[in-house]
Every structure is written in C-alpha cells, then in structure tokens.
Subunit: 114 residues, 2 copies
C-alpha cells in the first residue's frame, strides 16, 4: 500500500473495518494485519494498525486481554466494548451513505452519451 492515493481514502474506513473484524472474532495486531491483506487491502503497515488499535482502546471502542503465544511474546487480544458496538453500527450506516452518494456522482460518467 504505502503513500498511494488510496491511503487518503482509507481514513476513517480502516477503524470501521477493524470494528467489524473484531466483532466477528477477537484478535491481535499481527493477525489483523494479515486478515486485512486477505480482504484486498494491500499490506497494511504495522505503523498504521498498531497505533490505530491503541487509539481505539483509549477511546474505549475496544478492550484488550494479554494471552500467551506459542511462538513469541504475549499477544494483546482485542474485543469490542458496548461503545464499540454502537460505533460499528454507526460506521456501517455512514459507509452505506457515502457509497450511495459517490455512486450518484459516478453516474455522471455513464450519461456522457447525450
């Protein structure tokens, strides 16, 4: 990914995606990064995902518990709080709204024939 055009469009969206992913299943930073890659987001750098998780924890959207790892240091497993649940639903609504608006603008592209 890195300093592309898309990285600006990610703003706000990334946090929302983390809320959905962690709602599906509690997880830790390293694994979340790989999961995002699997969803089509290039290789989201750790300098993006770890600080974002910290910020979200401070905002009390998510909470964490430390757990042993079979191969390395302890892992910080995050799960959604009640506030996080609400924020997640709010994000879904906001995304659908944005998607709708942009789609309308994009429609200008297709009516070039008149």
């Amino acid at each position: 990914m890195a300093q592309t055009n898309t990285s600006q469009m990610l703003k706000g969206v990334l946090q929302g995606c983390l809320l959905i992913i962690l709602n599906d299943e509690p997880s830790y930073g390293y694994a979340i990064m790989q999961r995002l890659t699997g969803f089509g987001f290039g290789d989201v750098p750790k300098g993006t995902i770890y600080p974002l998780l910290l910020t979200m924890e401070r905002k009390q959207l998510i909470a964490s518990t430390m757990q042993q790892s079979p191969d390395g240091p302890e892992r910080k497993y995050y799960h959604l709080t009640a506030t996080g649940q609400a924020e997640r639903q709010s994000f879904i609504a906001d995304w659908h709204n944005l998607q709708h608006n942009v789609t309308q603008v994009m429609a200008l592209e297709d009516e070039q024939n008149d």
Copy 2:
C-alpha cells in the same frame, strides 16, 4: 455535516468527486457546493471546497477562467486538465477497489448466523 464520522471518510473521495463533476460540466465553487448537496453530501462547507479547488489548481489537475456573474462578483470557472483526466480515471479505479474490499469486510456482518 461538520465534525462527524463521515468527514474523515470524505478524505480523498471529495477530490475525486470534484474531478468527475467538473468533467461532466465546468463550474465554479459556489455552484459546485450546491451540486454536492444535491448528491447527498450534506452542506459541504466553503472552508472545505474552496481551499480544495485551489490545491487542485496548484497540482494542475484543473484550470480556471474568470467570468462575469449576473448577480455578484466574478466567478472562477474550473475545467479539467489532461492531468486531471488521468487522475479522475485513477480515482474511479481506486474507489471501485476500496468499495470491493470494504464490501468483503462487511460480509462478516451477514455470516453471523452459524
């Protein structure tokens, strides 16, 4: 609109939308704001749209010509440059890509039944 959640998600998207709108028809700041409102984006503040247009002009994505107005000061009409055309197509591709990825994440919401 103002300091909501959506204002972060607008980043990068707004410029792309302006490129599409100005490609459809050259226009000026004030009218563009009203057109965006019509597309569902709340009332995009002038503190957002005017500086953005200036930045895009400096990046040479758009160019301008002054024209008389029937009711007020002169209007600055913007139109796309060749660079702007390329950037517009690049935005469309990036948006489709982002849309696809987020849709995949959102799919986690619907498989909660198992």
